[in-house]
Symmetry: C2
Subunit: 317 residues, 2 copies
């Protein structure tokens, strides 16, 4: 990246609630061959907090920018690409934004809680096979442990040669923590004041739910490949909020994506410009082809962050 002058760097955890556990059995834990202790899991815990890392450029614009990752993902997605290029954190710092990069509740540095005692179910884990297909890096059943045998999307912008680095970013995922997650981001908005949220995939779906409840806390909302509509949320709730929705390429090469895209188009139609403030963009129609689900990692990720930055300048700043 280019040199950037930071006036502040650090992190905090926001939200969380106390839970008391009782009646669980003790367990012998071997901390080392010579150090064995009775482990007592009973007592008081703080759970459902969220980790927020901030990088504040000197002479920052006033609008903070919050990155909200998708399911099973952390803020790592926005830092550096799997093949080692600069990520959107650096790009938006260079644009002058104070950047708040988050690990949603349950993930990464937010930590997670015992299940089924606190979290209600077991998490799911992403296989290499599933990631390769779901995120439109390759065709159905296109993954092979031998890289040269993989069936990748033709002319893909995703750095498929670094797929082994990409898959290391994925963490276990619960589907039962949606409310706690939205609560944590609400608290973050209350702390920071009016902000721009850049939300990805299922994070974008949750961000829409939050935006419908508290549109006044947002100055803009960027939804990267939302995977679902805001359930039970009528789009009229955010009629006056500038929203940019961005989709990549190859939707028609996957079983589920054409339907997702069509539903999202219908959902946003009542608030799409000029009636409302929403713009839905398909990158191939702008001449940017080959993009996967992970626009922030694709080889043209800088071109896309510049496009988003232009939109923010016109609509938000």
């Amino acid at each position: 990246m280019c040199d950037v002058v930071l006036s502040d760097f650090g992190s905090f955890h926001i939200g969380g609630r106390r839970v008391e556990l009782t009646g669980l059995p003790l367990k012998e834990v071997h901390y080392s061959p010579t150090w064995v202790e009775q482990y007592d899991p009973n007592g008081s815990y703080i759970v459902e907090q969220m980790y927020v890392q901030y990088l504040i450029p000197k002479n920052a614009q006033t609008t903070p920018l919050i990155f909200w990752p998708g399911g099973g993902l952390t803020g790592v997605n926005f830092e550096t690409t799997p093949d080692g290029r600069s990520g959107w954190v650096s790009h938006f710092l260079a644009q002058g934004y104070p950047v708040y990069n988050t690990d949603p509740v349950e993930r990464g540095r937010s930590g997670w809680a015992m299940y089924p005692e606190i979290f209600k179910e077991a998490p799911t884990f992403m296989t290499e096979e599933r990631g390769f297909e779901s995120f439109r890096f390759g065709l159905k059943d296109g993954f092979d442990v031998q890289p040269d045998r993989r069936k990748v999307m033709p002319h893909t912008q995703f750095p498929v040669e670094a797929y082994h680095q990409f898959i290391k970013q994925i963490v276990p995922r619960w589907t039962s923590n949606g409310t706690a997650t939205i609560t944590a981001y609400h608290l973050l908005l209350e702390r920071l004041g009016q902000s721009v949220i850049v939300a990805f995939s299922s994070g974008a779906t949750q961000a829409l739910q939050l935006a419908a409840q508290y549109p006044q806390l947002l100055s803009g909302l960027v939804l990267i490949e939302p995977a679902n509509v805001g359930e039970g949320v009528a789009p009229a709730a955010f009629k006056d909020l500038p929203i940019l929705v961005v989709y990549g390429d190859f939707l028609d090469k996957h079983a589920a994506w054409p339907d997702i895209r069509a539903r999202m188009g219908r959902y946003f139609a009542p608030v799409t410009e000029p009636v409302g403030q929403t713009t839905v963009v398909d990158l191939p129609l702008l001449g940017m082809t080959g993009n996967s689900h992970f626009l922030m990692m694709d080889k043209n990720n800088h071109e896309i962050s510049a496009f988003i930055g232009d939109w923010l300048t016109r609509k938000v700043s």
Copy 2:
């Protein structure tokens, strides 16, 4: 913190190995009320990778500095204190070091793997009660959910008023991943070249094991409150390596710490200056009183990072 000019910021995952799972049952997962899928956990995973975040100051000194957290902890410990003061990441950036802040294998942004299929056991979880006593913030049974009823160490330097923020940093801990953890840091040293490691608590114990195997990869080793000796490691192995061992206050107020301190003193005696290159420091004997186990968070954390920086300048740089 003071303004700092970064020439680079980002992260990567290092290490990891592929595991194939077969024969596990499918499970129905409710991603949302309307989106239900058959989840198939069978397939290929990458596990035991380690997350490394880097901040490179412009005109950096050549020696990278690696932060290695203790058990159940992540790089968050070194970023910002629970009461919002600047952390050792900022302090050592200001001293000119390229900083590599890590989440050990299994923790934070490193992710974790299914158990018992891949990781061999269940993790342990830290209660508020245990953390309060073990880390010498308060006396035995000193924790109460009501902050004003807690029995804190007299004149403690730990920001006990922000204990609820501290406890949010703790993540689940396995005790079966020691070898994988040491392997990941070895790979990191191979990638960075000669570096300084600053390792905390049980991380310091593991760092000693690594240093004994590859002393030539280190230019210095700072051990913050090591909790145990390097098991099976004779200190002669790192006779020529500059090592600084630092302990805080209140060791005699806790059941386990006096014995730990005495054992570590005996262990390092054969390599302590002037025979070897090791210095073992008790901060109270230098006039710094009131420190807890978490020297990097205590209210005099800046004084301690300056002390370490002075030692590095004299012995390493």
